[in-house]
């Protein structure tokens, strides 16, 4: 009757008996994922917490657009128990925003220069011009900064601006939240009917808002090819990462979130080609490479995980 260890392991899983609890089931899934790729980097607690917070704020913001009377905290609690809808789409945008936030926080903490060298930034393309009013480039840069600051909540926590959301994700979330709300107010036919109108109104309002991607495109267009490289180089020198990402997204015709994730997960050696359309001098990339290399638990290739400097092409 002795069983081999292999046989024992199989017997624990393979009789078609459902695991007795969702927790056990989730843990077994996690373990199976781990066994399938033991060396793959997993989410850190910080990444998990940041992404979850961003998702929560997104759900609250979308719920507020739909109906201010929705108890967003209760909605979130219920979804936490049941599982969030549209997880695969949400995971991408929340993780991108979380990683960008980690990067910016780390950069801000490590840079903190002594504020004594005003001449250091004189080459910046968005420096105020001599003319009395702001130039077009200045206005576009201001709009970009405003669009970026909309990606934080009132407490300074990272968030996703509704204007930056893909229309499908936004609409899908609206409908999911509306369905949840409908179950609450189904007895009140007037309110239930108003929900449908609210979804339509919110969808139309979203398409009219401009997000950071559009602000980046507008800024890049005004800069033109001559000044684009200077502005991008100045953004790198000043660790102004949102401006860099927005300009890179504009020249690649990609969404800001996509571009941010592409940069954050690029191997160091791939950065010059990734940013080639910006025509930045290779030497000017050094602060960017250093900043990314120092970001712990980055979901990049092996060479970056080892913290190696650039030079894979040598």
């Amino acid at each position: 009757m002795l069983l081999s260890p292999t046989r024992m392991n199989e017997s624990a899983f393979s009789h078609g008996i459902d695991p007795p609890s969702p927790t056990l089931s989730a843990r077994l899934r996690e373990l199976a994922d781990y066994l399938a790729a033991p060396m793959a980097g997993r989410l850190t607690e910080e990444q998990r917490a940041l992404s979850l917070g961003i998702a929560r704020r997104l759900v609250s913001d979308v719920a507020a657009r739909l109906d201010h009377d929705i108890d967003a905290a209760r909605l979130w609690d219920e979804w936490l128990v049941r599982g969030l809808p549209r997880t695969s789409r949400l995971a991408g945008i929340c993780f991108a925003r979380a990683e960008e936030h980690r990067w910016r926080e780390q950069s801000a903490q490590q840079a903190s220069p002594s504020p004594v060298s005003p001449e250091a930034g004189t080459a910046v393309a968005h420096e105020p011009a001599d003319e009395p009013g702001p130039s077009d480039a200045e206005r576009a840069y201001l709009a970009l900064r405003i669009a970026d600051r909309r990606r934080f909540d009132a407490f300074g926590n990272p968030a996703l601006a509704i204007a930056d959301l893909d229309a499908d994700i936004f609409q899908g979330l609206l409908l999911d939240i509306a369905a949840w709300r409908l179950a609450e107010v189904s007895k009140d036919q007037k309110r239930a009917a108003a929900l449908g109108d609210a979804v339509r109104a919110a969808t139309e309002a979203q398409t009219s808002d401009g997000g950071i991607t559009q602000a980046g495109v507008a800024y890049a267009e005004i800069l033109g090819s001559e000044r684009l490289a200077d502005a991008a180089a100045a953004a790198i020198a000043g660790h102004d990462w949102p401006t860099l990402v927005a300009l890179a997204a504009a020249v690649h015709r990609r969404a800001y979130d996509d571009m941010a994730l592409a940069l954050l997960t690029a191997e160091t050696g791939a950065l010059p080609s990734l940013l080639a359309p910006l025509r930045i001098d290779h030497a000017a990339l050094a602060p960017l490479e250093a900043s990314l290399a120092m970001l712990p638990a980055r979901a990049a290739g092996e060479s970056d995980l080892a913290g190696l400097p650039a030079g894979r092409d040598r």
Partner: protein, 456 residues
């Protein structure tokens, strides 16, 4: 100084029996001296550890006197008579002034906006706390001085403009908006090249509209403070700001010591630190009360008329003070989640009144007793009642319990004697009232009534 070795000697009882000048000076600044117990908690803890282990230990040492933080390395060599100390790499660093916390903490200030502007003072972010006044529309890209009408200080200066010239932080810039008077503070921002990129800070609603004060006019005489300058709003605000920071620091440090978060210390030292924290909290409460008193007694004080639910506010108050009640084994019977009493009043102020009533009930209730909170509606009034099983208040005391500085003969450090006075003033400022119903031995029932609102 860094290369030098500073030596000292501790006897078996933990007294510093000899010390080089820097160490002795530190010991004296901490209120002790030669042949007296070591008054530097971190060093004392390390010495105890070395004596207990009967072996040399080398550790980083952190200490502080009244004007600098000290970082050093200490080597402690225990022997039969005590221990020898060798301190190297002694570095002093001025105590950093508290920097403005990141926006995350800023926004916890009630009734405030967080804002950020670029280097030309054009607004790039403006967000409001949930209870803050509505944000002005179209603020994006507008000049800070256009959005906020800057008010000069007593010397005719503008703190924000001076900070712009110096690229430094500022506070206390009084401003007016279309809606209300506010006070701005901000931290200068720089990018990685050292280029000034703007300011980020807070706009906090001033408690009352600033009355136009005649130049050179004397301070108003206050019935409580006589002609003390505390009745002058400017002086009061400065004192409030000047006291709050140091007191918070004292409390935080004392709590750290008392909680022995860095490791064990002598029980009596921990108790002293607990006493310091307790006294600090009392003083901070007094500062809060005095600031409130000054605000609500100012002519023209008016509370906001928010749509509130007394049931919800009562549950919030219980949530905030539940732990304190548990420490005394007191059970709070709070309104159920479906108990509603819609009313009109200022959310923050009503919560403040309820916290005062519930705090008093907990403080003066016997252990393992019960407190009831009930909400109700009586005609056009919505009411919330806090009842306890304390010793109660007789008729004579009820007549004076809402008086300023009245503590009913109590001398403990539990309160300033202003809480109930402020609570009733606030209730009346919201067209409501606060009453008490009690008899000796029967506990006390405080009832807050406010204008009722029809439920939606």
């Amino acid at each position: 100084m860094n290369e030098r070795i500073i030596r000292g000697r501790i006897d078996r009882a933990g007294a510093l029996v000899s010390a080089d000048a820097p160490l002795l000076r530190l010991q004296q600044r901490a209120g002790s001296g030669l042949d007296k117990p070591l008054a530097l908690p971190h060093l004392a803890r390390l010495v105890t550890l070395a004596l207990r282990l009967h072996r040399d230990i080398s550790r980083p040492l952190y200490a502080a006197d009244d004007h600098s933080d000290i970082h050093a390395l200490v080597r402690i060599t225990p022997d039969d008579e005590g221990a020898s100390l060798e301190i190297t790499d002694w570095r002093t660093r001025p105590i950093a002034l508290p920097q403005m916390p990141p926006v995350a903490e800023d926004a916890a200030v009630p009734r405030s906006w967080t804002w950020e502007c670029d280097q030309q003072l054009r607004m790039i972010a403006l967000r409001g706390a949930p209870d803050a006044p509505a944000l002005p529309s179209g603020w994006e890209g507008r000049s800070l001085s256009e959005l906020f009408e800057l008010q000069p200080d007593e010397e005719g200066r503008f703190a924000v403009l001076r900070a712009l010239a110096r690229q430094s932080r500022f506070e206390g810039q009084r401003v007016r908006t279309m809606i209300t008077a506010m006070t701005l503070s901000g931290e200068a921002l720089f990018d990685a090249t050292g280029r000034f990129t703007g300011f980020r800070g807070l706009a906090v609603v001033a408690e009352t509209q600033e009355p136009a004060e005649p130049k050179g006019g004397g301070a108003r005489v206050d019935p409580a403070f006589g002609s003390l300058p505390l009745s002058d709003p400017q002086f009061g605000r400065r004192i409030d700001g000047a006291l709050r920071g140091p007191l918070s620091r004292i409390i935080a440090t004392a709590e750290t010591i008392s909680g022995q978060f860095d490791g064990p210390i002598r029980a009596d030292y921990a108790r002293y630190a607990g006493d310091i924290a307790h006294a600090g909290r009392h003083l901070l409460g007094l500062v809060d009360d005095l600031a409130d008193l000054q605000n609500i007694e100012r002519p023209g004080f008016k509370a906001a008329a928010d749509e509130i639910d007394l049931g919800d506010l009562a549950r919030r108050a219980v949530g905030l003070l539940g732990m304190k009640a548990e420490e005394k084994g007191i059970r709070i019977d709070a309104p159920r989640t479906d108990d509603r009493a819609p009313a009109t009043g200022e959310f923050r102020r009503v919560l403040q009144v309820l916290l005062n009533l519930l705090g008093n009930a907990i403080r003066y209730s016997p252990e393992h007793s019960q407190i009831w909170i009930r909400v109700d509606r009586d005609g056009d009034r919505a009411t919330v009642t806090v009842a306890d099983q304390g010793q109660g208040i007789d008729a004579a005391q009820q007549a004076v319990v809402f008086e300023k500085f009245e503590r009913l003969g109590r001398t403990d450090s539990g309160g300033s004697g202003l809480g109930l006075y402020i609570a009733r003033r606030l209730a009346r400022a919201m067209d409501g009232d606060l009453t008490v119903d009690s008899a000796p031995g029967q506990g006390a029932r405080f009832t807050l009534s406010l204008p009722a609102r029809d439920a939606e």
